[in-house]
């Protein structure tokens, strides 16, 4: 980054400043006219005699096809002072070369907007340019190897088909010369990465994949060169240019495809990380909004977020309301309604209307920052199976080198040249990279698929453990239920109709923030027609833990003023029969003596919408479900009965939970714990695997292996199914890699494997492993078929289910 970044904004004199319209003043781009910002998304171009030119890079939004790119190019070219424009539809990027003394970024950015698109300065241009350079070089190497391979094949052809005497000695040596010349670029250029990495290994006294491969290449080329120039020498007159170019081509093809595949997954992660906007409208001292770069924001600033923009930081809405897409942060695809006072997260997208927001947390402290940090750290971990594979890979490579040497010595007395080529085959056919890739590629694909659904994997190793889980313990009833209660039943006595009772109760409850009150108000708003209030409520008093009382009269003022009580049974002064839910009573104060109640409301926790299907899916996967909760037994039992969980305990202290967990584990169960991740640290730590519902908690404080960003219960069952699938893929990969090497290395030692086949085998082997893992990234396993299958099974056979 350039140093001028941190320099305070200096207002440069604007050329044609009088032409700036009011619309432009409000526009996204004006702050980019500040020369201090230019280095962030471009660089000055030195072109002779053309004055002060800048090259800037943009990200264009709203492009659908190649035609759009051309439209934008035309729009930009029409702006005076623009020297050069390239818009790429594939990468959604644009490159603009413009004269700083003839135009300003706001003018040409405005031209893009008038054409119907949105342009943002591209700050990650350097990293992207680097990637483009690497891609081009990889492609270029592949093309050199491929094209030379074809040509060498043509020169080799006559030698294969010629009968003795058909080919004159001069002609044969000419063909060999030609092959040698064409092979030279392949060895010197296309094989470059293999040789340089092998050389680095030798310098650092370590061993890696590329060492045997580079050795094989060097030996083949050396033998063939000697065969060409010294046909009477030790290694005879045989040449192997065709084999050499062919296996180099196969290896490079394999690498190139692997690079493309990996880039696609890395690209998805990058898309998540680049979600924050570059600039945002901040309210300045005089109350007007000025666009500033996000990195200049401070806590306490008020910013305006326009529809379509992402929120730059965590904050609280101070004006306006809008629908917000939080899919990235919660995995929940339905947009949420956010009004004044509601908090919003950085990285979520404002969908409907412009809102103002006060900045509360910035940068790495935001929930978005935490998620990104978590994803980054998890992607750097090495799970146990991968460590194992890496530990095996090293001795395996040494074994390969020794085996090649042994094969060489064994065949040498009979035929030195054949001996060398056998050794080459052994060196090339081995593929420890398939072994090293097998586990991490699969686990990262699975973690990526989970992250897209709103489940963060903090610990890749946990995926392996999760696959073996046979018991899920919910440590809070709150994970199974919604965090609000639902009015189930209204019973009105004493001359009130149920709807009047509800209306009265809501009129009182409006003055309280107790969850029960809020639910009564919500139920009233839902059930009753919205009209003018028919009750006049005054002097509301709330007695914490008991209820409300207030003076009530009809709004027309005709009736008498009476005191109404709303709350628990003792608050209203009545005794109620025990019920399986929360009961709220309402009664007139003058009736307290007679212990009469005017209305009774039954409220209840409500299971999450996907609780039933999730529990059935868990049962189908052969997983037992329990509740161990610290909540009161009565409410735990209620939730357990409704959810159909037979095995539950309430009133647990953390020590009780720990003891119960250890008992389960002592019986050989593998337990996944689902909690809120905060209070039960020791319990979560003792479980084999833990899930935390972390919707309102700083992620860094969660002590769990998986973090559920949204409240979707079904993801637990899906994660377990995906983990099992992942482990299956890992095992397939490991078996494939081990089997391949176990079969091919002896074949090569026995001399039955030509070098070109060895190259093909190795490239295919590692490609298969990556492709197999890529299956996991596609989608989460859907729940519906699982559960349907179970329904069929249970209706047909009444046998105990097993997965």
């Amino acid at each position: 980054m350039s140093k001028s970044f941190s320099a305070p904004a200096t207002s440069a004199p604007l050329p044609q400043a009088q032409g700036v319209s009011a619309e432009q003043l409000h526009s996204v781009e004006n702050l980019l006219d500040d020369p201090a910002e230019w280095p962030a998304f471009g660089r000055p171009v030195e072109s002779a005699g053309e004055g002060n030119h800048w090259e800037s890079h943009l990200v264009i939004e709203g492009m659908h096809c190649a035609t759009c790119a051309l439209t934008i190019e035309d729009a930009l070219r029409a702006v005076p002072g623009i020297a050069q424009v390239d818009v790429s539809a594939a990468t959604q990027r644009a490159r603009v070369v413009w004269a700083a003394d003839a135009t300003r970024p706001s003018q040409w950015l405005n031209a893009v907007r008038k054409a119907g698109y949105r342009a943002l300065p591209a700050v990650d241009e350097a990293a992207r340019a680097q990637r483009v350079r690497e891609n081009r070089r990889a492609l270029w190497r592949l093309l050199v190897a491929g094209f030379c391979m074809m040509q060498v094949m043509m020169y080799a052809w006559p030698a294969y088909i010629a009968q003795p005497g058909d080919l004159s000695v001069e002609m044969e040596s000419l063909l060999r010369w030609a092959s040698w010349v064409i092979t030279l670029p392949v060895v010197l250029f296309a094989c470059g990465p293999f040789f340089s990495s092998a050389l680095a290994d030798v310098c650092h006294r370590r061993i890696s994949m590329d060492l045997p491969v580079a050795l094989g290449m060097a030996i083949t080329f050396g033998v063939s060169t000697l065969g060409t120039f010294q046909p009477e020498g030790l290694f005879g007159r045989e040449v192997y240019y065709d084999s050499l170019t062919m296996f180099v081509f196969f290896l490079l093809t394999g690498r190139w495809l692997e690079l493309r595949l990996r880039e696609r997954t890395a690209g998805a992660l990058e898309a998540v990380m680049n979600r924050l906007p570059d600039s945002i409208e901040r309210r300045s001292g005089d109350g007007s909004f000025v666009r500033v770069p996000v990195r200049r924001l401070a806590v306490g600033d008020v910013v305006r977020v326009l529809p379509g923009e992402a929120f730059p930081s965590d904050g609280r809405l101070t004006a306006g309301s809008s629908r917000v897409d939080e899919a990235l942060l919660t995995g929940e695809s339905a947009p949420r309604w956010r009004t004044v006072g509601a908090s919003v997260c950085a990285g979520s997208i404002n969908l409907e209307a412009a809102v103002e927001m006060e900045v509360v947390r910035l940068g790495a402290d935001t929930r978005f920052g935490e998620i990104v940090a978590l994803m980054e750290s998890a992607s750097l971990q090495k799970p146990r199976l991968a460590q194992l594979a890496d530990r095996v890979a090293r001795p395996f490579l040494i074994f390969v080198l020794l085996a090649a040497l042994a094969a060489l010595l064994w065949w040498w007395p009979r035929d030195p040249q054949h001996a060398l080529m056998v050794a080459v085959s052994v060196l090339i056919v081995t593929c420890p990279c398939a072994l090293s890739l097998a586990t991490p590629v699969a686990m990262l694909s699975a973690a990526g698929a989970l992250a897209r659904e709103g489940v963060l994997v903090r610990n890749l190793q946990a995926l392996e453990t999760l696959a073996g889980v046979d018991t899920v313990v919910f440590d809070k009833t709150g994970t199974l239920t919604l965090d609000r209660m639902v009015l189930r039943h209204t019973e009105a006595t004493g001359g009130l109709s149920p709807s009047t009772a509800l209306e009265l109760a809501a009129a009182l409850a409006r003055h309280s923030l107790h969850p029960v009150s809020r639910e009564l108000v919500a139920a009233a708003e839902q059930a009753l027609p919205q009209g003018a209030p028919s009750w006049d409520v005054s002097e509301v008093v709330e007695i914490p833990g008991r209820g409300l009382s207030a003076q009530v009269r009809t709004i027309s003022g005709t009736g008498p003023v009476r005191t109404l009580l709303l709350g628990s049974a003792e608050h209203v002064g009545v005794a109620l029969p025990e019920r399986d839910c929360v009961q709220v009573c309402m009664g007139w104060a003058e009736d307290v003596v007679s212990r009469r109640v005017s209305a009774r409301f039954e409220l209840d926790e409500q299971l999450r919408g996907d609780a039933e299907i999730s529990l059935r899916a868990l049962a189908h996967a052969g997983i037992a479900v329990q509740i161990l909760s610290g909540d009161r037994s009565a409410s735990v039992g209620r939730v357990a009965r409704r959810a159909g969980i037979a095995n539950w305990r309430g009133d647990c202290t953390p020590a009780d939970k720990l003891a119960a967990l250890c008992a389960l584990q002592a019986n050989g169960h593998r337990v996944a714990m689902v909690g809120d991740g905060l209070n039960d640290g020791p319990v979560l730590a003792a479980a084999h695997v833990s899930f935390a519902f972390g919707s309102a908690v700083p992620l860094a404080r969660l002590r769990s292996d998986f973090v559920m960003l949204g409240g979707q219960l079904r993801l637990i069952a899906q994660s377990i199914v995906l983990a099992r699938k992942t482990l299956r893929v890992v095992r397939q990969n490991l078996w494939w890699a081990a089997g391949y090497n176990a079969l091919c290395v002896p074949l090569a030692i026995a001399g039955w494997m030509p070098a070109w086949l060895a190259g093909l085998g190795m490239a295919t082997s590692s490609l298969l492993v990556v492709l197999n893992a890529a299956r996991l990234a596609r989608a989460m396993p859907p729940l519906a078929p699982l559960v349907e299958a179970q329904a069929q099974c249970t209706s047909l056979v009444h046998a105990p289910m097993r997965a």
């Binding site: 190649a66 051309l70 790429s88 539809a89 094209f147 030379c148 030609a178």
Partner: protein, 45 residues
């Protein structure tokens, strides 16, 4: 058959020329954005 003694070295030179062309193509980005260039011909200007 003697012509082969000319043709084979010629083919080597040709291969190197073609490689040069490929190099130009790769580094000019000819293999990126293939759709867009096909559209360009359909535009009026």
């Amino acid at each position: 058959m003697d012509i082969l003694y000319v043709l084979i070295p010629l083919s080597v030179g040709l291969v190197l020329l073609v490689l040069l062309g490929l190099w130009w193509a790769v580094y000019r980005g000819q293999f990126e954005n293939i759709d867009q260039e096909a559209e360009r011909i359909l535009r009026e200007n």
